[in-house]
Symmetry: C2
Subunit: 324 residues, 2 copies
């Protein structure tokens, strides 16, 4: 197990009241980290409050500790801790007007500049790994819910231990969790495979709509407004819909088009090797943004023209592949 900065451990030992914040639209790592850290502090006799956006997504609604997420806040805390939150702007807004003697930031995002008085920043697979390390260094015994919370953080942020962010330490931590509980199968299924009927139907419509262009290097996936409405609206579209195209062998660029209102399209772009053009450049052209390999924008106009343009991007790329 790698080390934890002494000032982080000292800050926890020397203070009594803690407020825990995570990023908005909290995912499994934000919630898992918050609960493991919060319950760990409580086990050390600290006073802990949470300031976390609710309702949580369905798959994360099983932690009994989350009942405290709605509690009223104090006016003052010794320490406000930001977990899994790469910038302060990314935190759940409005950031509460509480007095904090110290702000502490614990995060695994490479882009985090360290906006706290004390910062524990390290590029790990999940913030939950850093939380585990802290609790381990403090000698906190993990209760069953904390074990589930750390597992949830790591499992969700690694796509069930598949992503490139997994390290030897990730599996060392998992091994420690399995020493405390012998079966995470139901939880894994909940976090990664299960969908409600509407989500599954929309996922099926999306996969069924798959079309390939340009020697099968461009995937085009379309969910119509009629289908989306039929199955409960855009809220029922799961994140994995945007990755369907990337799972087709040979595809380098995929566009997932969701007609979220009549004639208004939300487009998610994804790319993979050997495609080298930054897809956020394409998204920005349409007023969107994102990263090199995942970007998105909202589009209102002629879908055929959009498809034609993406085909041209792929054509251009394939002609100039060597030069890019």
């Amino acid at each position: 197990m790698k080390k934890v900065p002494t000032e982080i451990l000292d800050c926890i030992k020397e203070n009594q009241s803690f407020l825990i914040l995570v990023h908005n639209k909290p995912d499994g790592d934000a919630i898992g980290s918050a609960i493991a850290f919060g319950k760990g502090l409580k086990a050390l006799g600290k006073n802990v409050d949470y300031y976390i956006e609710t309702p949580l997504e369905d798959k994360l609604q099983f932690f009994s500790e989350s009942r405290y997420f709605e509690d009223e806040l104090r006016d003052e805390y010794d320490v406000v801790t930001f977990l899994d939150c790469s910038t302060i702007e990314y935190a759940f807004k409005p950031v509460p007007m509480v007095d904090a003697r110290t702000t502490m930031v614990i995060d695994h995002h490479a882009t985090n500049q360290g906006y706290g008085d004390i910062n524990f920043l390290e590029i790990t697979a999940a913030t939950a790994e850093l939380v585990f390390r802290i609790l381990d260094a403090l000698g906190v015994e993990l209760d069953p819910e904390m074990v589930e919370a750390v597992f949830t953080g790591i499992s969700t942020d690694t796509g069930s231990f598949q992503f490139a962010n997994v390290t030897a330490e990730t599996h060392q931590i998992l091994s420690r969790l399995y020493e405390k509980r012998d079966n995470f199968a139901v939880l894994s299924k909940r976090l990664h495979s299960e969908k409600n009927y509407a989500q599954m139907k929309l996922y099926g419509k999306a996969v069924d709509s798959l079309q390939l262009y340009e020697d099968n290097t461009l995937a085009w996936i379309f969910l119509s407004y009629a289908d989306i409405c039929k199955y409960g609206g855009p809220v029922q579209i799961t994140d994995d819909v945007a990755n369907i195209g990337m799972n087709v062998i040979g595809v380098q660029l995929s566009a997932t088009v969701k007609e979220v209102e009549c004639g208004i399209y939300r487009v998610s772009l994804r790319s993979k090797t050997p495609f080298k053009i930054d897809v956020s450049l394409i998204a920005r052209k349409y007023g969107g943004g994102g990263h090199m390999r995942a970007a998105g924008f909202t589009f209102k106009g002629d879908l055929k023209a959009l498809k034609k343009e993406l085909i041209e991007v792929i054509e251009y790329y394939r002609k100039h592949e060597e030069d890019i």
Copy 2:
């Protein structure tokens, strides 16, 4: 790391020529175990041949060692080793007519009775775990392909570390593999997510066909002969199609019906908690078989009647749930 029986280590040390067999229709664990074990023996200066069914499924066609799977066999070996093969009948047939001074069985299946002269049987997540343990005990340095082979065995037999068979040792081994190579993301994607266009289209048709009955406890999934033919035939239907229904929240029993020839249906049944009726009993009624939670049969007749009967099974179960 747990122990390896001394007689297994001695048998390897004291002999020179080895033939490696695995079960028929070899999966990731069979192939991964064979390659890691075979290359490990070669690293110790042994002569190794393989008797393994080919062609391998697409996702497993990346090991350079598999080029030796077609090599001619000798008439005689010091040791014939059965890997990941729960019974000798399950081995690739015809079992070659070679003379073996010793037969050695290495397997993780609970049902293995130990049909070798020497047996290393332990219920682990994958046979590849046992192979890793053996190579570790023998001090063999894993080359990059052996690392990939062990990873492939464990990752495929655990559904990417999600199944109930995963243990603390599974993650300890994974941690050791990550010390040798820092990224298994592309391999994980290959093993778990990627499909070719035809496979993805058929998967989409299957998901899109989902219907629920009996308060959403029975899932019904249907692939028509026309669709199957359009996308390259039954060979393009991936195993995960049979699990779609199980991933719908609330579903207890799912039937996946594939019209493999005109009017001939291959039916896969799956069940999950709290459903307690052994689905192999249903399958057996139609001339099929399987296990408590996964069974199948071939059906020729009135599909509506079959659906009605499954609905009755669910109804019966829900009425008598307490008594079962």
